[in-house]
Symmetry: C2
Subunit: 342 residues, 2 copies
DNA sequence: CTGAAAGCGCTAACAT
DNA sequence: ATGTTAGCGCTTTCAG
């Protein structure tokens, strides 16, 4: 490896012991002011940097946190990672990112891999396929710090940071209703995901409040979260081929919203004339779409930051954490023309 | 830390020495078949995983690679990181990502931070502000492995993976010329970046080949690479206020292309009727724009993979690497309506 | 074929 | 106030 200065080099150069150097560097009181100054100056001069690996071995901490997301190349997650990174960096942690590609097996393998790397804690957003959360339960029971963000597990007692999905879905549905649509379909991610269930609940609640009857045939679950285009296309075609096809769609995830636009365009369906659309997405370019999209945008950066703050707090807590909190942050509805009645 | 099984536990349980266990685990030949089997089985049974931190300390290798990019929340870089991750994961390396936000100071700090973390090598894409590459020179001279991707330094002798920027720019300009535009402006990133210079060269070469005179006033450099919207807006306004304003724009980066569309829309300028557009971007949703965008798309995922393969090869090379190669990969021109003459 | 011991860089008792 | 030493988990001479 690229050679570097050790505490031993300093000790030798100054004719003191390594422990003296260590004490000086760590600002211990039981050391002479003179010696301390000497060591500090010399260390500065030769640009000494403690070896984090040695520290990790000693402290049994790696100062790294593992991140599990479905994919990096996704507006929501890349923004969240940006937030995670910003906090972790400042707190001296580094971030190891892994992707599940919505597969439970990949997710399990990633968690194992991260643990074998001795990460100090985990920031996870479940894959769409995941129903078995026992590996997390096992870890949490042992006191291992885990914070879920966005896609949390319902049955696990730990810190969570999630968007107010119910409210976001409510507002999106409401804007569609207010625009004059009553036959509204909802295309959403796997029902395994809590976010899907919450968004569906928000959707239903809005209909109820506005006195519109709920039609179960208008709900389509895409279990791969839009990763498979055919799945979305199939759902869309089924909806359009109904005796009474919907007039509007509320889509429940980043990828689904984009897929819907893409597929409808390819099919020659005009938005919003033939089918209006409002959906969750964190893409910042949807106002440039044809038509500009009405979206629910989550504060992904902030969510990443909050989750990381909670995780580091848990990691650095002296006592086993027993009290867990769930932070809920509001998503923002941005109304544009895709949800307007022409 | 979350407890884990060590070689010592196995040794104790089996009544052998730690070195025997180590040898068995590492498939050394100087060990009895019986003992070996015993150890292997027991290790398997109790799910033993070697401590990577201890290994790192011993081997003086961290099995991690540092990545320096301007930002994660950018289509090009998130795709590249995806590629980096895919290779690194398979080769047992983990990836530490840092962002410069186009600032030289952040870049320097990130490199220092990564080094203090003892990464085994660096994958870097320079910030738009960077002109001083002496820190990399210093490291390279010491034999430290660095691979540049996308935004490489000209004066440094090391591995590089870049897109064929000249060709990409040539084709984009050509499609504009063939559509019938002759007054073409070029908005690009800081001239500090080699990619900017190569793209400008490609632009000039096309004009020359098609016998169109080059007009220096049609070249606008945005030194913050589109991070600052006003900068792009100012450039665009200057162009439009010229006595002979351009009929088309060729934009030289992801962020600039998107910014141009966004600003022109806000200004009420119709694309391509009033101003046609073709530009570099890796966004996968630009065909949904109004109008669908003509773009040069780079194989970012592949570039990330190649750079990582080269880096790991260099890291694991027994002998100091003296021969460096520059891999050039083709970008793809995708023609859509933003570059058509109406 | 196997065990003992040193050492990677650092900290923290435990001496002096 | 400073030095000595052990130990974190592992590999690797060096003995036997």
């Amino acid at each position: 490896m690229f050679e570097s200065v050790t505490i031993k080099d300093i000790a030798k150069a100054l004719g003191v012991s390594t422990s003296t150097v260590s004490r000086a560097l760590n600002g211990s009181y039981e050391i002479g002011t003179e010696t301390k100054k000497l060591v500090l100056e010399y260390a500065e001069k030769i640009n000494y940097r403690p070896n984090p690996i040695a520290l990790s071995l000693k402290e049994q901490k790696s100062h790294s946190i593992g991140v599990v997301v479905c994919e990096v190349a996704n507006d929501y997650f890349s923004q969240a990672i940006n937030g995670i990174e910003s906090i972790a960096y400042n707190r001296g942690y580094h971030v190891i990112i892994t992707q599940t590609h919505e597969s439970f097996d990949r997710e399990s393998a990633n968690v194992k891999h991260l643990l074998s790397r001795h990460v100090d804690g985990l920031l996870v957003s479940l894959s769409a396929q995941t129903t078995d959360t026992s590996q997390y339960k096992y870890l949490l029971d042992k006191g291992f710090p885990i914070v879920f963000f966005d896609r949390a597990a319902t049955d696990l007692n730990t810190h969570k940071v999630i968007a107010n999905n119910f409210k976001g879905a409510f507002e999106a549905t409401e804007t569609l209703l207010k625009a004059g649509f009553t036959k509204i379909a909802h295309i959403t991610n796997s029902n395994n995901l809590l976010i899907s269930r919450e968004r569906l609940d928000g959707f239903k609640a809005t209909l109820e409040q506005y006195g519109v009857e709920f039609n179960a045939a208008y709900i389509k679950h895409c279990n791969h979260g839009g990763m498979i285009r055919d799945e979305v296309e199939f759902a869309l075609k089924e909806l359009l081929n109904m005796a009474e096809p919907p007039e509007a769609i509320f889509s429940g995830s980043d990828r689904l919203t984009i897929s819907c636009v893409s597929i409808l365009k390819a099919m020659g369906i005009k938005i919003p004339e033939q089918l209006a659309l409002a959906g969750f997405t964190n893409s910042d370019v949807v106002q440039l779409f044809d038509p500009p999209l009405t979206v629910v945008r989550q504060p992904a950066f902030r969510i990443g930051q909050m989750a990381t703050e909670m995780l580091i707090k848990t990691i650095e807590s002296k006592w086993p954490v027993e009290e867990f909190s769930t932070e809920k942050v509001d998503a923002e509805l941005i109304v544009r023309s895709s949800s307007q009645k022409i």
